[in-house]
Amino acid sequence: MAPAPARTAPAVSARGIGRRFKDRWALRGFDLEVGRGTVHGLLGPNGAGKSTAVRVLTTLLRPHEGTAEVAGYDVAAQGARVRHRIGLVGQNAAVDEVLSGRQNLELFGRLHHLGGRAAARRAAELLDRFGLSDTGKRPVGTYSGGMRRRLDLAAGMILDPPVVFLDEPTTGLDPRGRDEVWSAVRGLVGGGTSVLLTTQYLEEADRLADRISVVDTGHVIAEGTPAELKSRIGGDRIDVVLHDEHALAGAAALVEEATGHSVRTAPEERRISAEVDDRAASLTRAVRALDEGGVAVADVVLRGPSLDEVFLHLTGPRAGTGSPAAARVTGGTAAPEQQDTRQEARR
């Protein structure tokens, strides 16, 4: 009989996980610790290994190296026990399109051996909790992206598992769907569930997670609270897009002076980006300087740092322009067409 895990065991603990496909490592030396009742964000670009990590931790893939425990049980040796304590909401909404929302939840309830009556009661509770009561009878095929994702979340919560895995829960959703899913996730957390959430969006990790692990090429390159990470990667940015490429150098100098930070330029997009310390004030200064300098501006945007910029800060500049993280991923040995189809499938 396996010993019962300590009550204080972390929700997820992984040490030196390695997993390869053919002879290419998708995950290598991967470490992670998710405290009980916390939300942990795995932030990384396409192909970083986020889904592979989730699939190892949910017992779908065997690790080739390292050990991991979920809810105190070993994922390799005690898979059945782990499966009793987790909910998985995978990267693709894994609900039946033909069945109604209610029928889906009843199906998963019966597969959790609740019995017909209890499964029906549980389905009604979950529909209510995830704001789907009105649409419970419609086939899922007619749901919006946000509704489908919330149903997917509900299906992962049949037994109120102590640990829930959410793989890119908002990718492909419009802002409204994203907000719906975010508040659903906050609801889970309010109930004390531990959550491991993967995302490509810094903003999402920032909004939802207590701690973030930044993942690149199969291992964690930085870990900390959102505030710690943000202090390492700087604050907001402005983007200035010009009409005329030839004005780029002059405009860059003006923006640099107005913001007090060095700029990055993307000539092919006629775009200048710079960090700003004081948001609106810097923005106003920059726009005024450009106007007085007679530069024709196509667009100005104030925004948080992008994932590219996070990586730029954490790993230093890389060869090539544009998207350093993506460039590194597709520059590997992954078949390019596979990358393409994976991205296609997400839309």
């Binding site: 496909f21 779908l60 893939l61 009793h84 894994a94 069945l99 597969l111 549980r122 037994l159 957390v189």
Partner: protein, 285 residues
């Protein structure tokens, strides 16, 4: 935003205890299999046109072969072509079921439903058992419809009811073997690729057999290939059991059709069932 008192949510439902003995585990697997199969039944009820179109196709094939081509067909050794054809059509419907299996399995894999099942505390065999149950139900229903339709166009069985039942049993046994091939192909080639391959192969498999014409009318080497097609054994055995004209060749397989109609499917299951289970446990290698 650290929460000071993380506590598990008040469980709205008591989590059922995991199965204790092997019997209990078997009961869970059976219940899960039935639950999974019921999902398909709900699909058919919600979208009946899909299975109905599936039935229309063999019905059209029968019409085509009986009225369009039937006049030009003669059965070596004599006999009515419709009577010769119908057992072949029954087996053809079993082969068409292969595409249905692959489609269902590949769709679940591609859409993450299979992953969700695998991450749940349900028995690994339940998904495949459920698939099997649903596909057998559907093929049995198709068989019943085609038997009725065959009677309308002049087919009938001449032997005892027992022999006829044995014939239907052999047809379903062939379908049972094809379920495992379909599950395997669906798991290996997720997505549309596998479906296209199977749907393209169904016709050569069907025509390269004794289902539509006697293998004796083919070039010798091709006739030998067709005789060794597992489907041919089932068709020949079923013709014998129904008392329909058989026009069997004189090779060893053709002469031992009844035996081979049992051996072939069992052999296929013996090969593909372990492959399926292995593949399901180790998806992604």
């Amino acid at each position: 935003m650290n929460r000071t008192a993380p506590r598990p949510a008040a469980p709205a439902v008591p989590a059922p205890a995991p199965p204790s003995g092997p019997l209990h585990r078997l009961a869970w697997a059976a219940a899960d299999g039935w639950t999974v199969a019921r999902r398909d039944v709900t699909h058919w009820l919600r979208q009946p046109w899909e299975p109905l179109f599936g039935l229309l196709f063999p019905v059209l094939m029968v019409l085509m072969f009986v009225y369009l081509l039937g006049g030009a067909m003669s059965v070596p050794g004599g006999g009515d072509y419709t009577e010769y054809l119908m057992p072949g059509m029954f087996a053809m419907v079993m082969v068409f079921g292969l595409g249905e299996t692959v489609t269902a399995v590949a769709a679940d894999s591609a859409r993450g439903v299979t992953d969700r099942f695998r991450s749940m505390p349900m028995s690994a065999s339940a998904v495949v058992v459920g698939r099997c149950l649903a596909d057998m139900l559907r093929s049995a229903a198709a068989l019943v419809v085609l038997i009725g339709f065959g009677s309308l166009v002049g087919w009938q069985w001449h032997g005892s009811a027992g022999a006829a039942l044995a014939g239907f049993g052999l047809l379903l046994l062939l379908r049972f073997a094809l379920v495992w091939i379909g599950v395997y192909v669906g798991l290996v080639m997720r997505g549309q690729g596998g479906i296209a391959v199977i749907q393209t192969l169904e016709f050569p498999i069907g025509f390269l057999s004794n289902a539509f014409v006697a293998t004796a009318t083919m070039p010798v080497w091709l006739g030998a290939v067709a005789d060794w097609n597992p489907m041919s054994s089932t068709v020949a055995a079923v013709r014998g059991l129904f008392g329909n004209p058989a026009a069997a060749g004189d090779g060893w397989v053709a002469q031992n059709a009844l035996l081979m109609a049992v051996v072939w499917p069992l052999l296929l299951v013996a090969v593909f069932a372990p492959l399926c289970v292995h593949r399901y446990r180790n998806l992604d290698g």
